[in-house]
């Protein structure tokens, strides 16, 4: 399985076939690739194009891009509902950022225990953790909903607790696993040296593992953010008040209003909703692709 550490360099040296003189074959290859890129990008460009078309153009102009760029859909979409879309973005940002913090902290602690400490039943707990990797969230959603509702946390004082509590309790086993794999690559001699200097498990964690785990933490942070930002299922289940909605849940409001005039604003808000993920993508492209390369992360 592809489970090396997130920063490990792929053995590029193992592929000398890779350097060749350009020839007819490469031109053909390039043409095929460009054709596939066109297919892959078409829906995204069409989305952006449509978001800038006027209502009239959406109906009449079947072209990819608008003849006249009109920003009207963006302002209209922003204030299409009783609550401004800015509020939804703030809600999403808060949930996503707190999830990043929660996952980073709690998964790091658990991973350190699994990767470095010896304690009774460690093997069993580790197996249980791996087992939870395969557990679909749909299986847990009904009882979790009942549990959080019984505790008065659904639609309560602060409606995001059901979304956030699991993230602060290291339930995202994938990140625990990723960090364990990473920490196994940190040389044990460092622990030994710190131990000789009188450091206990906490000291070793604080002074050796924590600073060295930065790459694994960054990978976790990026994917936590993107997954939470894109997540729909849990947010749909747990958020019930309009003003608490996150962006994905708010977007579905457009579908409810079936009127044709909402298409432009709906596309505009769709574009905006993808923007944070897209910016992450541009900023961390290399890291993302390598992170997946080496850990098998799902997008």
């Amino acid at each position: 399985m592809v489970t090396a550490t997130p920063t490990a360099d792929a053995p590029t040296g193992a592929a000398p076939t890779t350097r060749r003189r350009p020839g007819g074959r490469s031109v053909l290859r390039l043409l095929i690739l460009v054709a596939i890129v066109a297919v892959v990008l078409y829906p995204l460009i069409w989305m952006i194009g449509t978001s800038m078309k006027s209502q009239e153009e959406i109906v009449n102009n079947v072209g990819l891009l608008p003849e006249r760029f009109t920003p009207g859909n963006y302002t209209a979409g922003w204030s299409n509902f009783d609550v401004s879309f800015g509020r939804f973005f703030l809600n999403s940002a808060m949930v996503s950022l707190l999830t990043v913090v929660g996952n980073g902290l709690s998964c790091l602690l658990a991973a350190y225990a699994f990767a470095r400490l010896r304690f009774r039943l460690r093997g069993m707990w580790f197996a249980v953790m791996i087992g939870t990797l395969l557990l679909p969230q749909h299986v847990l959603i009904v009882p979790q909903y009942i549990l959080f509702r019984t505790l008065g946390l659904v639609g309560g004082e602060w409606p995001y607790l059901p979304l956030l509590i699991p993230q602060f309790l290291a339930t995202e086993a994938f990140f625990v696993f990723l960090m364990v794999q990473f920490m196994r690559g940190v040389p044990r001699e460092l622990d030994e040296a710190a131990r000789i200097d009188g450091a206990g498990p906490f000291g070793i964690f604080r002074h050796i593992i924590l600073p060295l785990s930065r790459p694994a933490l960054v990978t976790t942070a990026i994917f936590s953010f993107i997954w939470t930002w894109n997540d729909f299922f849990r947010q749909l289940v747990f958020l019930s008040q309009l003003e608490d909605y996150t962006v994905p849940v708010a977007l579905t409001l457009f579908i409810d209003s079936t009127s044709q005039s909402a298409v432009g604003p709906m596309f505009a808000m769709s574009v905006l909703s993808l923007l944070p993920v897209f910016l992450f993508f541009v900023a961390f492209q290399r890291m993302l692709v390598e992170g997946i390369n080496t850990s098998g992360i799902k997008g």
Partner: protein, 327 residues
């Protein structure tokens, strides 16, 4: 107190105090490490108990009841196997959802993996700009299950969507694909296949691991490109193919967002996009049949476990590990 720390006369050997101390130290350290282990593990343990294990047991219990969220727990009625019986014998929409989900997974997953492998093979050369292509192909996977993308997709396959205007360029009369029960699920499949970037990146990583000597040897033996692919690439890549297959199948079964958006949460048109998880959501949260939904969830969990087990048991016959260890 001095009494207890006095050297035990029964202890063997001369330097017994020292030997004692040395024997004790690692033991004592291990003890404190054991404590620290549980301290560090405690958030995860609390999460496991509170958010995973207890809810699972609760859901197992509820699957034998007719619980709706409105009745207090004390008045919940135990119905035995009635939910399971209804699911298997008296609920045609359940079996319909199973069929829809299986159809989706059986068609979309292989096509997605084929696309991923094909493009990975095209990209498995280092030249300037290859990273850009890689990134662009990965982009749809990254935007993944987002509602925005599903919205775009539904509109693209509308009556006057982009797909039909593309067809009209070739003089083909399109149709409202997303409103046609025969085609709605297919548009969701196309969406899934379009997001081939994630398995592609994993394939690329796998291709990098294939030793070049094997190709050279095959080439010396007179194997053409196709035979090299069949006899070198495929076997060497089989662990990665296996990994992607398991992952994508499990993901395929869980498809929710796009089906929800396409049908506005109903599974329509005419239940054609009623994926298993969407059916579960409707049962539990729209119709408030939480007991019945819990039974569905448990069958879902067992089904995924069985399918994974089948993959792993058949994998022995076609997955080759280069270190010779058949895991």
């Amino acid at each position: 107190m001095a009494l207890t720390t006095a050297p035990d006369p029964t202890r063997r050997g001369p330097g017994s105090v020292r030997a004692h101390a040395e024997r004790r130290r690692p033991g004592r350290f291990r003890h404190s490490e054991g404590l620290a282990g549980y301290v560090f593990l405690s958030p995860w343990l609390i999460g496991l108990m509170g958010v995973t294990a207890v809810p699972m047991l609760l859901s197992l219990y509820l699957s034998f009841t007719n619980y709706d969220i409105l009745t207090p727990f004390s008045e919940v009625e135990w119905v035995g196997l009635a939910n399971y019986e209804r699911m298997f014998t008296a609920d045609p929409s359940y079996w319909h959802a199973v069929r829809v989900t299986l159809t989706f997974a059986l068609i979309a997953v292989p096509l997605k993996l084929a696309a991923a492998l094909g493009v990975a093979l095209l990209l498995n050369r280092a030249w300037r700009g290859v990273g850009l292509f890689r990134g662009l192909f990965y982009l749809p996977s990254l935007l993944g299950g987002s509602v925005a993308l599903a919205i775009v997709w539904v509109n693209m396959f509308n009556r006057d969507g982009a797909f039909n205007s593309l067809l009209s360029l070739f003089g083909i009369q399109g149709k409202p694909w997303v409103n046609d029960p025969d085609w709605a699920l297919e548009t969701l499949m196309v969406l899934a296949i379009w997001q081939f970037g994630a398995p592609m990146v994993i394939f690329l990583a796998g291709l990098k691991q294939v030793p070049t000597e094997l190709y050279e040897a095959a080439s010396v033996d007179g194997a053409g490109r196709f035979r090299q692919f069949r006899n070198v690439t495929l076997p060497m890549l089989s662990p990665v193919i296996f990994f992607n297959l398991v992952l994508e199948t499990i993901n395929g079964f869980q498809g929710f967002t796009a089906a929800f958006v396409l049908s506005n949460g109903t599974g329509g048109p005419v239940d054609s996009t009623l994926m298993y998880t969407l059916n579960l959501y409707i049962t539990g949260f729209t119709d408030l049949n939480m007991g019945y939904a819990s039974a569905m969830a448990w069958v879902f969990l067992l089904a995924i476990a069985v399918i994974t087990a089948i993959f792993f048991s058949t994998g022995r016959f076609w997955v080759h590990y280069s270190d010779g260890e058949d895991r």
